[in-house]
């Protein structure tokens, strides 16, 4: 059985990069429940404490919180290959 993937996407306000990153993530993860992928979108302009806690220097940044190992992708996620690998590696047995 697949372990549930927990992601956090850090964006800064409504910048172009942030909007594109959200769109790209949503395109891949169409149905969060079916794909067993959970993601949360965090605006660091509103929650700077979370940027500190998760060590966010660059945005947009997608962080895989679980399962380990932790991984991070920065950018607007326009290169789907990296996004898939982040999701795929977590898939384990596939």
């Amino acid at each position: 059985m697949k372990q549930k993937i927990n992601l956090k996407l850090f964006v800064s306000g409504d910048s172009g990069n942030s909007a594109r990153a959200i769109r790209h993530l949503q395109e891949i993860v169409v149905d969060p429940s079916a794909d067993q992928v959970m993601f949360e979108i965090i605006d660091i302009l509103q929650l700077p404490e979370l940027a500190i806690e998760h060590h966010i220097l660059a945005t947009p940044a997608l962080v895989r919180i679980s399962p380990p190992p932790a991984q991070k992708i920065i950018g607007d996620l326009s290169k789907t290959k990296q996004l898939l690998s982040l999701l795929g590696q977590a898939g384990g047995t596939e």
Partner: protein, 506 residues
Amino acid sequence: MKDFKDFIGLNVPQKIPTGIEGFEHLTLGGLPEGRTALMVGSSGSGKTIFAVEYLYRGITQLNRPGVFVTFEERPQDIIRNVKRLGWNLDELEKQGKLAFVDGAPEPIPVEESGPYDLSGLFVQIEYAVKSVGAKLLAMDSVGALFYQFKDTALIRREIFRIMEALKAMGVTAIMTAERLEEYGPISRHGVEEFVSDNVIILRNVLQDEKCRRTIQILKIRGDTHTKGEFPFTISETGISILPLTAIELTQESSTDRVGTGNAELDAMTSGGIFRDSIFLVSGPTGGGKTLMSTMFSAEACRNGERVLLLAYEESREQLLRNAASWGVDFQKWEHEGLLKIVCQYPEAMGLEDHLLKIQREIKAFSPQRLVMDSVSAMERVASVRNFREFVIGLTSFMKQERICSLFTSTTPQLSGGESVTEAHISTITDVIALLRYVEINGILRRGIAIIKMRGSQHEKQIREFTIDNKGLHIGEPFRNVENIILGIPSSTSPLEKDQLGDMFKT
């Protein structure tokens, strides 16, 4: 047309002090308020310690809260590294006067997928500045950002954006960056291209097998500062810059004379040397220099003056024994608090550290007189340039503190000859006495001459002197001998001896 009055409101930014020893002197006031200064240096040049001290002094001495943004080391490593200097950064953090922004690379894989910016860093800095009400900030080192992120053009833009934000918040910042060569391009990655208003260079140059740290203010826009490279040291109290040429010779000169400890020598100098003089005694080994130092010290103590005796050639025991052999009880003076003997091997530390130590000894003991036996011993531990700076720094400090100083210098040959010390020191000293061996008809005799005395008449003849267990006795002038000072004494006809005196005019 614009009148100059239109520009009156546009004052150059005010400078704010940093609290770093010597830095205000160098920059004529500190760093421009609300601006970011770029500090570049090769690896190990002292950038991080400078950045930390800037915040530490600012917070503890000037009550200005600060933020430390680190891109290389983790905050806990920095806190630990400066503990040995007695700087408790974690304590300041707890008190809400210091905040860290941890921008060091993460131990997890990071991939880049499409365009991004550094808003996260931006937000963290802004948050930290607001949380402690920061007036100061240090970023160490922005060069590391270029390794964390691939888009270098973006990093440059973002650094610039952060600087603009700091300016808007009224934060005075130091940003460090690497350079590869000590005398090459200003910085790696061309950081200076957009932080060009204020640039400071730190260097750590290996010169004649000795490390030499220097600081140079390349520019402070719209204002003056001291030019050139200045040595600095990192000691147990942090950074100390030695602004050697900045000490102004503005003090009034004294007309008050003090004894040299030898009545005949006092007579040769028309009644002793001036209280604010620097007296150089040059001579070969065994030529009577240490004896003159001892007499000079004893004379001061007899008059209730404090003397600091810096010995670089002999141990304390040797000094005490030598003094005792001439009937001078150094231990008694030490006991009375009039004499302080500091023995140190020249090799024990670099010249900058020696100078710093001497300055500290002087500040702690506040002597009226100082003896350094010998200055030339320092030659062997430094390059010529380094030595020259040391001598200038030392003499200007003595002048500033108005300490009557006796320096000895050992000449390379028995008969004299000029040492490096004399080449560098003779123009700075006020009185120079030469002690020389003179071989006449196969017998070695001793000669003394005062070749220079500022602001006073002095005897021009070369006198013979002897040393016995009572001390130094100056006798009659030499007759019928010439070229003693040049180290090649030769007999001369009685007629020519009259010309002798002319040779020693200053």
